[in-house]
């Protein structure tokens, strides 16, 4: 009998989106438990006592934490015919490197961009665009970062597309103008059911962010 798969998640989370996409790419049936991060469930605290964060994949009762580690686990456990990571060690290392780049560089820039104003925001905008351009360079003329195949780097990056509208509204930043290749790639990814189902509505996401910002400011 197949072991139970539960995903502890939070709908606006970029990291949660990655894990949703990976599970859907592999055709894994899973139950989502939506967490209220201002009131974390006992299950979340039990399954991730170290970081107390989502996403957490619980497979047969055992927790796996940290989105890229979860994506690797999903790849190694299910659907070996459709790997998310290349089999060639050098290509494999290349994919790991670029997913790590998204986490180390792109995400911090987005976070600063979302919460800062004035000069700090302008600097973050510049940094964000620079990072996207570097990624565009890595993509080159390929359909996906994995070549003809939608793979690990695509999974790690595509959630950032859900901020397309938000960045325009928040920071007057048109990603479409600045990084057209990125948008073209993202639109190709959105054609995939696994991606379309896993990313939230962009307007909803932006509204949620505004509400959260308001709450943080009044605290």
């Amino acid at each position: 009998m197949a072991k139970e798969v539960i995903l502890l998640d939070f709908w606006p989370s970029l990291f949660g989106m990655r894990t949703r996409i990976a599970l859907r790419e592999k055709g894994v049936e899973f139950d989502t438990r939506e967490e209220d991060l201002s009131n974390k469930s006992p299950l979340l605290l039990k399954m991730n006592p170290i970081h107390k964060k989502i996403p957490i994949l619980i497979h047969g009762g055992k927790p796996i934490c940290e989105s890229l580690i979860i994506v690797q686990y999903i790849d190694e456990t299910w659907g070996h015919e459709s790997s998310l990571l290349p089999s060639d060690p050098y290509e494999h290392a290349h994919a790991r490197f670029w997913a790590d780049y998204v986490d180390k560089k792109l995400y911090p820039a987005l976070r600063t961009l979302r919460y800062s104003t004035g000069e700090a925001q302008e600097a973050a905008k510049k940094e964000y665009i620079e990072c996207l351009k570097v990624l565009e360079g890595e993509l080159g003329d390929k359909t996906y970062f994995g070549g003809e195949r939608f793979e690990y780097v695509d999974v790690s990056l595509i959630p950032f597309y859900s901020w397309l509208y938000g960045l325009e509204a928040l920071a007057n930043l048109s990603i479409k103008e600045e990084c057209p290749k990125f948008v073209a790639w993202a639109e190709r990814c959105m054609q995939r059911e696994s991606v379309a189902k896993s990313l939230p509505d962009q307007y909803k996401l932006y509204e949620f962010h505004l509400e959260r910002k308001k709450k943080l400011q009044t605290q």
Partner: protein
């Protein structure tokens, strides 16, 4: 035709030491190139244009960057002996989680110990001790994190031992007093020739940090 393997490195780097140990465990012959980080070589800048950091493994002219990515690569290419990662996906996820935890915490906390004073230093010390205790707990009664033999997580963690003396001296505390089981584990690791020949002496690291403090104008 024989493989050409070069490691671009910097002698006190814990991240470089990880690669040295892994290459030794796998019996790979390689050329060690010492980088002057104040005057980075053309080769380094060419091989790691994104981060411009060491370590970089150059295998038959192709670069692999980021120490944990390099460890994965070494494990996959030279797969005929000494597996570094376990074969079970859940165990692999656990090893990756804890290596990621080390990278998220230790370097920055350790750096605070020799760059700050007063409350900030005390807070960093407390957090570092708590983190070390968590890792000690994860080891449990096993001789190594990899079980009976050295594994991925052992290799990811043990190089930080060379910086313990510096941390303890600047932070005025004893890691052995706080985490005796962890120190017992480091002693077991040091009995392995591939580890002891890849690590540098703690006293040399301390002297290096003193010099670095002077150069950076930190009291």
């Amino acid at each position: 035709m024989a493989d050409e393997v070069i490691l671009l490195d910097f002698w006190p780097s814990m991240f470089g030491m990880r690669c040295r140990i892994a290459l030794a465990e796998k019996g790979v012959k390689y050329e060690y190139k010492e980088e002057d980080l104040r005057n980075k070589s053309d080769l380094l800048l060419r091989m790691n244009p994104i981060h411009k950091k060491i370590p970089v493994l150059v295998h038959n002219g192709k670069p692999v960057c980021e120490s944990l990515v390099i460890l994965h690569y070494i494990d996959e290419v030279w797969s005929d002996k000494c597996p570094l990662l376990p074969s079970d996906p859940y165990q692999r996820a656990q090893a990756r989680f804890w290596a990621d935890y080390i990278d998220k915490k230790f370097y920055d906390l350790g750096r605070k110990l020799w760059t700050t004073k007063g409350e900030e230093q005390e807070a960093a010390k407390k957090e570092l001790i708590d983190s070390l205790k968590l890792l000690e707990g994860e080891l449990g009664d096993k001789p190594f994190y990899g079980g009976e033999k050295l594994g991925f997580l052992d290799i990811a963690l043990v190089p930080f031992y060379t910086w313990f003396y510096a941390y303890e001296t600047f932070g005025n505390f004893s890691i052995e007093a706080e985490c005796p089981k962890l120190i017992a584990w480091t002693k077991r690791c040091l009995e392995i020739e591939n580890v002891s020949k890849s690590l540098v002496e703690p006293q040399k690291v301390y002297d290096f940090v003193l010099q670095l403090k002077k150069a950076l104008g930190i009291e």
